[in-house]
């Protein structure tokens, strides 16, 4: 009986967690998973509810093996470990350390841009219609914005290894979940020295040019003015 109760508790804990993520905790879910995959968590919740119902209505098996709980409790507790780690996740963010850890550099310290697919000319991206250009939009439609005034919202990084004292304006792009997040960045040549700290969210406004070196072309925003900005509801790019 106790073993069955423990299994039911594990299932119930995951049901509560998943149900909260797809209802009240959507902003938290967006920091872990692509928002379009919410249905996956909803689907998981339904299956867990079915499992809980079956688990509560079927016969107990401890009578057949009284030592079951003694040997099986670690396996049950292990299933709860991810929920324990929800505590730090609540306030944690992928930051500049993650950015540098997931980036590649050339021998002289230049950050190598990740691959971003192009789209047909004239095809707008959702966040470009609001007057603000996404970092991925600057790569995808660099021809369209070249020498134009652009405005991006991103996080700031002072990277001493970069040439010419540029700043890095970065965000993460996810495909499925935060574990596959890849850094996307543009370089910034600020008008005046910035005292904004690493990882602070900023709005950068300036003129777009391209910085080419070692066969890589990176968008560079020159004459940039920087202002502090609050964290967007969806911190990732998609």
């Amino acid at each position: 009986m106790l073993y069955r109760i423990l299994k039911s508790c594990v299932l119930a804990a995951w049901i509560v967690f998943f149900a909260w993520l797809v209802t009240y905790g959507q902003s938290s879910l967006a920091r872990l998973l692509h928002p379009q995959l919410w249905w996956l968590v909803a689907c998981g919740t339904v299956i867990l509810v079915l499992f809980l119902a079956v688990n509560l209505t079927r016969p107990a098996v401890e009578q057949a093996n009284p030592n079951m709980l003694r040997w099986q409790w670690p396996a049950l507790v292990i299933l709860l470990v991810p929920l324990l780690y929800w505590v730090p996740v609540h306030e944690a963010r992928l930051n500049a350390d993650t950015f540098l850890q997931r980036s590649l550099r050339t021998a002289d310290g230049l950050l190598i841009p990740g691959f971003i697919e192009k789209r047909a000319n004239g095809e707008a991206w959702e966040d470009e219609t609001r007057g603000e250009v996404s970092l991925t939009g600057l790569y995808r439609n660099s021809d369209r914005y070249l020498h134009e005034e652009v405005e991006v919202v991103c996080r700031l990084l002072h990277d001493p290894q970069l040439p010419e004292e540029f700043l890095v304006c970065y965000r993460f792009r996810i495909t499925c979940c935060a574990a596959d997040a890849l850094p996307v960045f543009v370089l910034i040549d600020p008008k005046e020295d910035s005292d904004l700290a690493n990882d602070s969210w900023v709005r950068a406004r300036g003129r777009l040019t391209l910085y080419a070196r070692h066969g890589f072309t990176i968008p560079l925003i020159i004459d940039t003015t920087l202002s502090a900005e609050s964290e967007p509801a969806f911190p990732y790019l998609f």
């Binding site: 995951w14 998943f18 879910l29 920091r31 872990l32 998973l33 995959l37 996956l40 689907c43 998981g44 299956i47 867990l48 499992f51 119902a53 079956v54 688990n55 209505t57 079927r58 016969p59 107990a60 098996v61 057949a64 093996n65 079951m68 040997w71 099986q72 670690p74 396996a75 049950l76 507790v77 292990i78 299933l79 470990v81 991810p82 324990l84 780690y85 929800w86 730090p88 996740v89 306030e91 944690a92 963010r93 930051n95 350390d97 540098l100 850890q101 997931r102 980036s103 590649l104 550099r105 190598i112 691959f115 192009k118 495909t175 499925c176 979940c177 935060a178 574990a179 890849l182 890589f216």
Partner: protein, 352 residues
């Protein structure tokens, strides 16, 4: 009437004492790390591990639940006679067929183990099961689409990825099928097909296919729930290791170690095993190495990852014997390595 799985099969593959020790060790490390994360020195690293760990779990667990549910439905609704008709007439043909099953049954690697367990319980030949296990997470339409998007609709990359996955899976299925069979390759509870294929002596649903639908669905859910508890903790341990590796391994070290394409292939294969990425997302990581690594190394990453990673390796213990797991791991690694070196040697311009 349906009875839950007995205790002896709850931690199969590993002996009960060893599974208990591994569990205690994991709990100690994970809880210790959690509390270390409360100190300033460890705060950043543990936060990073926590994000990756939760992200992998929130993505992978629903897939595993879907896989467990599919396995339960297979257990109750797919008759053994159908399996025998499809897979027992011709060994090579059954392996070739199993390699394409992912096209009709698109599952990622998190979902495939519960499905394969149930198919083995139903009597599918070991060679065909291994082929489906390896090919299923690659040769499917979702993976084809995500690869196409990641590689800017370069259909050559898609074709090479799916073709490589299929050929390698078939080769290994045929190869291991010669040396291993149901008796020496899989755990006893999944070995005997037929009336008690689920391992529950009292179930006998193959003899009672005419039962009420509601009872049979409840029965299928019972099996699926058992699968969740017997495979789920392997998934948690694998996801934790993957998050740890993802959080402490700088990608930049790879760019300094890539003296030649063969070295690049090996390093990308090791990275694929350690990162445990979903087969539906790994193409985007591989594509980020375009212009940095040869195409064969990117392809090695995309082909090996869905076949062999830490999380899968742990989950293999829930169905296969240790000897088969070792043979499977070695043969997958070696065949993928040789295949990619062949691609690099004979078709160097194919994947630029």
């Amino acid at each position: 009437m349906y009875q839950p799985v007995p205790a002896s099969s709850q931690a199969p593959g590993l002996s009960q004492a060893l599974a208990w020790l591994v569990g205690i060790l994991f709990l100690t490390v994970s809880v210790l790390l959690f509390f270390l994360g409360r100190t300033p020195a460890w705060h950043g690293l543990v936060n990073n591990i926590a994000i990756n760990f939760l992200a992998i779990m929130v993505e992978a667990l629903p897939f595993m639940l879907i896989g467990a549910l599919a396995g339960g439905l297979i257990e109750v609704f797919v008759p053994v006679a159908w399996i025998e008709k499809m897979f027992h007439r011709h060994r090579t043909r059954s392996v070739l067929l199993a390699g394409t099953m992912g096209l009709f049954f698109p599952v990622c690697e998190c979902a495939i183990i519960p499905v394969v367990r149930r198919l083995l319980g139903k009597g599918i030949p070991l060679a065909a099961a291994l082929t489906f296990l390896l090919a299923g997470p690659i040769v499917n339409v979702i993976v084809a689409f995500s690869t196409a998007v990641a590689y800017n609709y370069d259909w050559v990359v898609v074709a090479v990825r799916l073709g490589s996955g299929y050929c390698i899976a078939v080769c290994i299925g045929l190869l291991l099928g010669r040396w291993f069979n149901r008796d020496n390759g899989i755990l006893p509870e999944w070995r005997n097909s037929g009336a008690a294929s689920c391992g529950h002596q009292s179930c006998a649903h193959d003899r009672n296919n005419s039962g009420a639908l509601a009872d049979r669905v409840r029965h299928a859910l019972g099996h699926a729930c058992d699968d969740f508890f017997s495979v789920g903790f392997y998934l948690v341990i694998g996801a934790f290791i993957a998050a740890l590796v993802r959080s402490i391994t700088p990608m930049d070290i790879f760019s300094h170690l890539l003296a030649n394409p063969e070295q690049a292939i090996v390093l990308m294969m090791i990275m694929a095993m350690l990162l445990n990425l979903c087969s539906e997302a790994d193409a985007f990581i591989a594509a980020s190495f375009r212009g940095v690594l040869p195409g064969s190394a990117q392809m090695a990453f995309m082909v090996l990852g869905p076949m062999l990673d830490v999380k899968l390796l742990l989950m293999y213990f829930s169905v296969f014997r240790k000897r088969l797991i070792i043979a499977l791991s070695l043969s997958v690694f070696i065949v993928v390595l040789l295949w990619m070196i062949g691609l690099q040697t004979f078709f160097p311009a194919l994947l630029l």
